[in-house]
Symmetry: C2
């Protein structure tokens, strides 16, 4: 019996699932409803496109609705918003945003892949022209056009997270002055603050007027441009990017009685099933199992959307695949620096009340043999279980060859390795590539003492 | 009771052991006998020093005898050759190469860390001035001086292994023409040949006259320079580097009745103990447990000499540390390319008669998101157990960000991960760093099908 598969959301998770179902069941009906005008785009590439590093924005479009229809035989309907899930009738209510008309669509298996949206804080004036968030490709187009159409010489970024930092670099690349207003006392808030002195310095050196511990009270229109009233004073500016985090698009699921976590994101099991039969969820709207904590956590990432979407698709089409979970692995280029993390941070342990169970080690190592020209230092911080000496988390910061070294730690954490196990790994060594004791091994050795 | 520790060989393994013993037993007697004039030098850096990439050769000296004596309180005696181990009397016979005098030295615990030496094939004329091998720091000095003192415009390298390739690059960096004569049908003989087309092309493009399937019959002196008579014809040249592999310095051990393997290298257990009580071995003179094959194998590497030496020292000083073994992980920069391998190759499986137990996967992936400028392709080949789908080996080649990706595979092999496990790793992703599906994940996904 061929089944009818309906997918809500046409980005990474939704399209990965749709494509997988199509490969497994060439004859089945697969419908993807996408509210916006685009599907499957490389959101993470937008800062580089806005900043002019990537010249052709069309390259960010991984898949167009036309190609999805013609090449993959997927019934993709953009401009269609799903407004209700009717669990008892196994159907959904869809609104065609062009015509405004609503219709019902039945499903055998449903995937919720509605993603997340930028948080818009309740700052007076946040709705003015020239104030943006960056989440959808349409957001990217709007910002890009606004910069092109207006004489932008100054930008204000509210928030110091990964997107804020990438956009600071993008604006600087366009020779636009940047003020960054951060409520907390550090940039890169997902990382431990003791690692960030160099990065903060580097951001300042790159001409970003960084103001920490600074709240934004209101935004005002001027004859020309905008005025941001911050706790540290007024900032005259031409464009404002609000980059204060994201929240899951889970209202549809909540209204249908599907279980969500404290984060508001949908709770799923390892098969990507929600609490309601025949309904799956994947991507930024869903929590995933954190492999270190063995708890459901919401850490939205493109990587888990892609992997999880594919697994949801496989299981919807009759497979039995498991998604083992996430480590919260993340990396960001910040001007010349790369910052990366995986697993547990010290800060997280503190928040969870498990600080007494861990110990930390921080070392500095080189990316090459010390005598080889161009060797760059990197800082490695490990979070280790005090009793078992198992690695629970790693953070790294440096100018070169940081990210894929962090991946060794991500792999080691997944394998539940102790720091002694890691210190005995047989890793690549050649003077242009690594010191004979790679920083990975040095960190593990020191943590093992 | 303080013990007397004697170490034969003052390079990476010997000095790692000596330093570890000193830290654990500050009062004990630790004597290191080194035949040559140097201890603990960065052998792997020599091609870059000869080629002028590293300007100051003193930087290759990790430790001098003076510093070892003054700072680490180690009794290091250079110019002292150990000529006999007297197992029954727990003593050795040492010859002072300056005076020619011999003396006995008793030991409680002895470490053999005699390393390996370059193979000198029985080619007529191989002893002429201008014909070199490159193994010791003294070799490096001799080559460096010869190049400086003579008008070198052409070099001939016999052998296409890692040292030969690094020296080809070094000579080219000095604008010296290079002919490379290789008996076999591929360069980088430890890797699978199907990966090497690009590399071979690249070596040719960099001005190396590479001649495969070419034997060398004899070397002759000319009025000016040398003539190499090869099966492919005569090569007029100014300097010859014989780089046809290494063999273990294990004669001392063999004469003492210590067990060696088929390779001729010393067999040790996980505690670095030889077959004779109170005698340990470490470094390039010893075999190590291969973690994939669970067999004793001789793959001499600086990394295992450093790690194993430290563990030998710990156990000699009363500790109980294990050296879990090696994967044969190796990396070489070859002009703009990096080649790297870990674990089993297809060629090894063939040689061992286990080819029917494995399957291989080869993919090409990018080091960055395809739309991010400067993305470079890399080739990944995996060797996988057919039944268990466990990863047994990985090889990579590409221009950027290859080596530390290979280390993820080395870590995964160590953890006995299946390709499915690897495909689910939560690895770093950001457009300047990686595609959303890193080549690591792509290779694992394809291998998992």
């Amino acid at each position: 019996m061929t089944k009818k598969f309906v997918i809500i959301g046409g980005d990474a998770a939704g399209m990965s699932a749709a494509s997988k179902i199509r490969r497994m069941q060439p004859e089945s009906e697969v419908i993807v409803f996408e509210k916006g005008p685009h599907i499957s785009f490389a959101a993470c590439g937008m800062p580089y496109w806005i900043g002019g590093v990537i010249e052709d924005g069309r390259k960010l479009q991984v898949l167009t609705p036309e190609i999805a229809r013609d090449k993959r035989n997927l019934d993709v309907r953009i401009g269609h918003e799903v407004v209700k899930i009717d669990v008892s009738n196994k159907s959904i209510v869809v609104r065609d945003l062009d015509s405004g008309e609503k219709f019902n669509e039945a499903y055998d298996k449903l995937l919720i892949a509605t993603g997340a949206r930028a948080i818009v804080p309740p700052i007076p004036g946040v709705g003015y022209e020239g104030v943006f968030t960056l989440r959808s490709l349409a957001d990217g187009h709007r910002i890009k056009n606004y910069i092109a159409d207006h004489g932008i010489s100054h930008a204000t970024i509210i928030g110091g997270g990964h997107i804020g930092l990438e956009m600071a670099e993008a604006f600087r690349h366009l020779r636009i002055d940047v003020t960054m207003l951060v409520r907390g006392d550090q940039i890169a808030p997902s990382m431990d603050s003791d690692l960030l002195d160099q990065l903060t310095e580097h951001v300042l050196e790159n001409g970003v007027d960084l103001q920490l511990r600074t709240g934004v009270e209101s935004i005002h229109r001027l004859d020309q441009g905008l005025l941001v009233r911050a706790s540290s004073g007024d900032v005259k500016t031409d464009i404002v990017l609000v980059s204060t985090g994201v929240e899951p698009n889970s209202e549809l699921a909540i209204e249908a009685g599907i279980e969500v976590g404290n984060s508001g994101a949908i709770i799923i099991n390892k098969h990507m099933q929600t609490s309601v039969e025949n309904i799956y969820a994947s991507g930024d709207c869903a929590e995933h199992n954190h492999r270190v904590l063995d708890e459901s956590m919401w850490i939205p990432m493109a990587t888990s959307a892609n992997k999880g979407g594919r697994i949801a698709g496989e299981n919807m089409a009759g497979g039995h695949a498991n998604f083992p979970g996430i480590l919260g692995t993340a990396v960001t280029k910040v001007f010349d620096f790369t910052i990366a993390q995986t697993g547990l941070t010290e800060k997280q342990a503190e928040r969870m009340g498990t600080l007494s169970n861990i110990e930390t080690t921080t070392i500095i190592g080189g990316n090459r043999a010390h005598y080889y020209p161009g060797s760059q230092p990197m800082t490695v911080k490990l979070v280790v279980d005090k009793i078992s000496k198992r690695l629970l988390g790693a953070q790294m910061i440096g100018k070169s060859d940081v990210a894929k070294r962090l991946d060794v730690f991500a792999t080691a954490i997944t394998a539940k390795m102790s720091v002694e196990d890691i210190s005995m790994l047989d890793l690549t060594y050649a003077p242009p590539i690594s010191p004979v004791y790679d920083p990975i091994l040095v960190a593990a050795n020191v943590a093992n003492k």
